[in-house]
């Protein structure tokens, strides 16, 4: 069970958005993040003054914008957050707030991308952040797979990106073939392993 858990969710447990509500290829995306007092980092950050840590709001906005940039290459480019050019917070986000993160891709070229992110509570702007993403900072790890395609696709599906994602012309967005194949293979492996364990358990009883 432990092995299965680690394969399913231990690899990429770094999710700082809850769900995409809009995703237009290469242009803009909106995602929501609900803040709950049940999350340990909320009350542990500033004891007695529970707020969402600002760096994690930056991370959530960066994930919203970074997935926009990564999707353009079918998630083959290694999109690395290289620089936060600007980060302005107007007020702290508190438990019970729903943050809506919107990201707009400003520039994209072969080396990287720039994006603007805004966090809102209702209609009120809570934070404004500007990003530079590099597509080459990860080159020194060129011989290593940073993200397993099956894990990455699971995470992207968890974010609901393909539930709302559309292309520039409004067609539904589909995951790249190579990721779908990796996911099928990974599911088959898990299935086989599970089946093996069930058989083993049957023999023992």
């Amino acid at each position: 069970m432990q092995e299965r858990q680690s394969r399913n969710c231990g690899v990429m447990r770094w999710m700082w958005i809850d769900r995409f509500v809009e995703f237009v290829r290469g242009r803009r995306a909106r995602a929501v993040k609900n803040i709950s007092l049940a999350e340990t980092y909320i009350d542990g950050y500033l004891p007695g003054f529970p707020i969402m840590p600002a760096p994690l709001i930056i991370e959530g906005l960066a994930q919203t914008a970074g997935l926009l940039a990564g999707e353009l290459s079918g998630f083959r480019d290694r999109v690395v957050l290289a620089k936060v050019s600007k980060a302005v917070f107007h007020f702290p986000a508190r438990p019970g707030d729903t943050l809506e993160y919107s990201a707009v891709l400003e520039n994209v070229d072969k080396d990287g991308a720039s994006a603007k992110g805004v966090s809102r509570v209702g209609d009120v702007v809570q934070a404004e952040v500007e990003f530079i993403f590099s597509f080459h900072l990860g080159d020194k790890f060129a011989d290593k797979v940073l993200f397993d395609p099956a894990d990455l696709l699971r995470m992207i599906r968890t974010f609901g990106l393909y539930d709302v994602g559309v292309t520039e012309t409004g067609e539904p967005l589909l995951p790249p073939d190579y990721m779908v194949e990796a996911e099928s293979q990974s599911n088959a492996d898990l299935e086989a392993r599970h089946h093996g364990r069930v058989q083993q358990a049957t023999v023992h009883t």
Binding site: A82, K83, G112, S114, I132
Partner: protein
């Protein structure tokens, strides 16, 4: 109507203030991008994006940062750019004053060559500023 060199300077200054978090008065024509203004390599991508947007131009990175020449085995020997390499750099970067660099063309020093004025000269040549 073509933009003036003064307008170019103002916009370049603004781009550098926003990209590097420096004050207006730090951005002087003689200031070097790396040594005086503290630009790091990723900042140049930020600056290029801002200039492209501000002026509606496209900036091929190799024009501003001739990394291909500086890492070429043909043009670099023992950490120094060869005379032929210096000629290539001059051709590629007519907007920059390479006189000082040419006297001791250590590759490592190249990064600190570019000044705010060089950047303005480059943009002037792109937008035909009068």
């Amino acid at each position: 109507m073509a933009v003036t060199k003064e307008e170019v300077y103002k916009k370049v200054q603004n781009a550098l203030v926003e990209a590097l978090g420096v004050d207006d008065d730090e951005v002087t024509p003689q200031a070097t991008m790396v040594g005086d203004l503290g630009a790091e390599s990723i900042d140049f991508l930020d600056i290029v994006f801002r200039l492209e947007k501000a002026f509606g131009i496209e900036i091929p990175r190799a024009e501003l940062f001739p990394e291909d020449i500086l890492t070429s085995s043909e043009y670099v020997q023992d950490g120094k750019v060869t005379p032929a390499g210096v000629e290539e750099l001059k051709k590629r970067m007519p907007f920059a004053d390479l006189t000082k660099f040419a006297s001791n063309p250590v590759v490592q020093d190249f990064g600190n060559l570019l000044t705010v004025q060089d950047l303005c000269n480059y943009v002037n040549s792109k937008v035909g500023a009068a």
